[in-house]
Amino acid sequence: MGYMYVDGMKVKIEGEKNILEVIRKAGIEMPTFCYYSELSTYGACRMCVVENERGGIDAACSTLPRDGMKIKTNTPALQKHRKMILELLLSTHCRDCTTCSKNGSCRLQELALRFGVKQVRFENNRPEKEKDTSSKSIVRDPNKCILCGDCVRVCQEKQGLGIIDFAHRGSKLQVMPAFDMKLCDTDCVNCGQCAAVCPTGAITVKDETEKMWDYLADPTKRVVVQIAPAVRVALGDEFGVEHGENVLGKTVKALKMMGVDSVFDTVLSADLTVLEEANEFVERVKNGGTFPMYTSCCPAWIKYAENKHPELINNNISSCKSPMQMFGSVIKKWHEDSGDERELVSVAIMPCTAKKYEVSRPEFTENGKRIIELSLTTQELATMIRGAGIQFDELESEYLDAPFDMGGSGAGVIFGVTGGVAEAVIRQCSDDKSSGAIKEIKFIGVRGKEEIKEATIQALGREFKICVVHGLANAEKIIQATQSGEAYYDLIEVMACPEGCIGGAGQPFAISPERDKRAKGLYHTDERIQIKFSDKNPSVGYIYDEIVKGNSHEMFHVHYGK
């Protein structure tokens, strides 16, 4: 492919789709608002402008690399244009930075600082628009929108939903749901990917940390927290820990320091899910049940299916509750049995924004009380840790609390990454339980960040076809393929977020290669855990014997549409 010259530096062209990627590879941090390598190129913010050999100006995101090409990324003219663009953006942007939830992580703020925008010579004469706080998961503040369209593209391209789109044009351009509806009135599935990609505070995840502080300060409350698998390999990002490092021990410690009574690991209830789902699968095979069977852990996927494919609900989709809700039932029962007189507040730390919606569903509410009171995101936990003044990176590890201090198996840990649920179920169903077989399963094709993966396994004396997808747009493709008879699968794992829960919208924002490191972190943890099979986890036995006591159907399964 040849070489090009970036500010005089010779840089090899290695199949990059645009010169922006080449420039970044050369170590120059080109400013962008509307560019994500994983979405289509939009080319609207014009921040990544570069000067070509003829003195002309091109946007790097939409210029092909060419052998021998010479470009400059930082000339006085470019600096002037970038500053002017920033000034124009700031001039119509709400500038209450200090009270913005994106303060410190806002790209507009960061670039304004970087390029030294010291004045805004235009009056902000846009009429103020109303905030939309109707969603359980997401807050939309149009006054902070810079119209980069990242949210529009992620919702359309990755999730196939198109809940929000551009409306009107020119200086009246806005991003909004159809007819400026409230988000809660749309088919939004609460995946939060729009908030994840939003460079400013225009779309943010609902902040519920205040509620949590109140619970913690209330002596009549027994605050019990569970931590999802994917949280442990992402929380560290917020505190300068190596990307993908498992920080479960530090997280437990931090939670305890903030006053949490008991800290448990959702990996354990993932083990429960593995067993229940594997059982269900085997039952279906034996009794000629409905296929394909879809996984049910992802609440955004459940909501999507309810909206678009009600025929799959309570039918193809596994009746298993999500691991979070399974643990919720266990914690509730355990608390009731414990005789503790305080009121239970069950909290989940999740990589997910849709969990905020899931905990509010009527199916997971008993007598007006939620089984899980509150679902906080990884980022909200980070906010709390910072708020408490805890030096997270210097913390010593602490163990989980009894009686679930054993945590979960390796099979439960990998729930946090795309393909993990399928792999865990396969492991469970596989005829061969040797360590060699486990290693083999690794390579049948369920691992890796490809958006649609297929695998075939040998179990129960026959061959099964498995499909693993992430992104709801991909899920739709698979649904169409199976419903049209174009493809056949026995088991389909669906996760709404990129690469599964590690790319959840509640996580510190990361794209590859950082995100890949989280997957590695989880697989690495699996390797280090002695117990590889969910049913070999002694805590699982304890739960079934001492807590579930034959009520597994009631405690671990759900019928949607209650």
């Binding site: 359309q156 198109g162 789109d165 551009f166 409306a167 044009r169 749901p177 159809a178 007819f179 749309t186």
Partner: protein, 160 residues
């Protein structure tokens, strides 16, 4: 305002053109031709039928100037403010028409749903500037006075 829409007519439009996105604009034009605007209920119906997100349809409908999401009057008056018309004083005509009908840029339709007043950036009839159209019929060499006369004539004709 409760209204029952004729979804059968929409069905036949959809059937004639087909459910692909490339026909969306033409379909919207047909709907607007029938209703003089794009009723929300019909857009929702189309979204469902065509399998296109409602936000996308709304996004297309709000992009183009000719689509209206609010009901328009029986007579749509367009006053050209293209270069030629502008230099030959189209703005006083616009102002006079608005004043006469009691409408504004924000509220372009009379409350009796008779008239909607719009501007258009060029009708390509520059030799006749300033021009005005009523339901696409071009009226050349307008003056504020002539425009008012025309409005009265339209009203009278409508009464008959």
């Amino acid at each position: 305002m409760e209204q029952n829409f004729d979804f059968k007519a929409v069905d036949s439009i959809l059937e004639f053109y087909g459910n692909e996105q490339k026909n969306l604009i033409t379909i919207l034009q047909c709907v607007q031709a029938d209703h003089r605007y794009l009723p929300r209920e019909i857009l929702e119906y189309i979204a469902e039928k065509m399998g296109i997100s409602l936000a996308k349809i709304y996004s297309v409908a709000t992009f183009y100037e000719n689509f209206s999401l609010d009901p328009k009057g029986k007579y749509v008056i367009k006053i050209c403010d293209g270069t030629a018309c502008h230099v030959r004083k189209s703005i006083p005509i616009l102002e006079k028409v608005r004043e006469t009908l009691g409408v504004t840029a924000e509220k372009p339709t009379t409350s009796d749903m008779m008239f909607t007043v719009e501007t258009v950036s060029c009708l390509g009839a520059c030799g006749l500037a300033p021009v005005m159209t009523i339901n696409d019929k071009v009226y050349p060499a307008m003056t504020p006075e002539k425009a008012v006369e025309l409005l009265n004539a339209v009203r009278e004709e409508d009464n008959e």
